[in-house]
Symmetry: C2
Subunit: 316 residues, 2 copies
């Protein structure tokens, strides 16, 4: 497998699994993960960046493998005390998790950019791969539902994805700029693959793509762009993707995701359960995509990079 | 014992012991505790009010009786995680304790005054006595030492009171106003006693007295003003009082504290170990003042209120 830079666009849990696989099979520093920050919000006066934190915890080995979110060995004394004081408790913040929000908020308040804060944190946690917010400017995902427009975390956590979704908007995206390290990664002459992780295409990848310059960067880069389907046999591995697709009038299927990314990607990786899918002009490859253990994550990462390598070779 | 309002001026640990005693022997709502806020500081972006919190925890029964500060049943996951992230860890913030700082900071940011926030917290914790900051404006105690001027918490916690003290200042005091509920307490026609708790006179009571109007309120109120010595037989029960007095060129003794408050108080309560002290024009009474258990606290509170009652009676 050749060397060179790899870019991964990722949301939270689902994307972070493949990001971890890519991290483990890449040379130190060769992977740049561009994280969705559309889920970021201010809560209890703290700047919370859920997808960045999931990536940091996952790559640092601090993630909770049982709960699937947050930190391992977490305690909940803060939330209990906050409830006693009548504070807002709908968004669960573990005691250890709080440290990253407090420290980020403090550094942002001291004038650092979200990129600088994130880079400081990942270095401190000993993560060699770069983790980069899609933008240093705020972009806020909002969800149009049968209960009206909801801020993302209100839809996702407070209302547990129960409201019926009719649309999405990314407030601030028009005025956002790609983070400097995201621009630098696309400009890297060694770039060998751009990977759209199996995150929710609408909630996690679209906000990244909504940042001005991001679609152009994907279109113009010499390296192959490859997406991995988060839908397997019509079902989302985790989260509201399938439910939301149905509500948006879309068939929850790998084919629908492929069409969503059409024109943007060179290849689409689907699960072997969906083998047989064919779309004119798009390379579609099937492989087991369900990532349970570390082996699955590394295997899928190697597979995706091999697909990229094959695509990059001059066709005979 | 007659009814009516009691005012207590208090700092942290030492003062809170007598404040708890007064709270337990007073009618619900009859005690107004005016808390030192000169120790308040902003740390990690959070507004920390150590003396108010000690009073809240103590009166709510949430204080840690072993450690002597902070909350009981505390956990420390946040501090460990913050250390991992390279954050500042010289000031210990327990996981449960964090809730009060986060909630206070959020409410202050939303425009509430420190009085309003404090009142909301004490109500929520089911405390009937009023806890009132000396002022809603910031007043910051600074300590002149052989290492230069230090912010209070840097002197007290970071440098563990080790630097030699040569002076004190209360930055912002000139522009501060007494908190509305402090003014109201002095204006209460039922006021029967004003008690200077056995806190550090220089670090904990003087900042309260530095708020414009406070000395005048003590001088003009009809009720007796009584101080309790924090020094017993030349030793401070806890904390740096005796060390600091020596550094300031003062003999660490109850007599020195009495002279410090001279002109301001009608009576001075000393420990029986110091019995015999006499100062012309000042009523001095001796009683056991060391407060170990709840009984000691209630007994001393009753004693002090009885002294006030005796002073209030027309002299024959």
């Amino acid at each position: 497998m050749s060397g060179g830079r790899v870019i991964a666009l990722s949301g939270g849990i689902g994307g972070a699994k493949l990001a971890l696989g890519l991290h483990r099979v890449s040379a130190p520093g060769a992977l740049t993960i561009i994280a969705n920050t559309g889920d970021d919000f201010r809560h209890l006066g703290l700047h919370v960046s859920p997808d960045i934190d999931t990536l940091l915890y996952t790559l640092a080995g601090l993630d909770d493998p049982v709960k699937g979110w947050g930190r391992r060995d977490e305690t909940w004394t803060f939330m209990r005390a906050l409830a006693e004081l009548g504070g807002e408790t709908w968004f669960q913040l573990g005691d250890g998790d709080l440290a990253i929000h407090v420290e980020r908020t403090r550094r942002l308040g001291a004038g650092e950019s979200l990129s600088q804060v994130t880079d400081g944190l990942r270095r401190r946690l000993g993560i060699s791969s770069l983790i980069v917010p899609m933008s240093d400017e705020p972009v806020a995902t909002r969800v149009a539902t049968d209960e009206g427009w909801l801020d993302f975390q209100h839809y996702f956590v407070r209302r547990r994805c129960e409201p019926r979704v009719s649309g999405l908007e990314f407030v601030g995206a028009d005025d956002a700029r790609m983070a400097p390290e995201a621009v630098a990664a696309f400009a890297d002459p060694t770039l060998r693959a751009v990977i759209l992780c199996p995150s929710n295409p609408y909630l996690s990848v679209d906000p990244v793509l909504a940042v001005p310059g991001m679609r152009k960067a994907l279109a113009e880069c010499a390296a192959p762009v490859i997406a991995i389907s988060p839908i397997i046999a019509g079902q989302a591995v985790k989260g509201p993707t399938a439910k939301m697709m149905a509500e948006l009038g879309l068939e929850p299927s790998a084919a629908t995701v492929a069409r969503h990314y059409e024109g943007l990607i060179d290849a689409f990786v689907i699960d072997e359960a969906d083998a047989g899918l064919a779309i004119a002009g798009l390379d579609i490859v099937a492989t087991p995509t369900l990532m349970r253990g570390l082996d699955d994550k590394e295997r899928l990462a190697r597979f995706v990079l091999a697909v990229a390598e094959a695509l990059a070779e001059p066709r005979g």
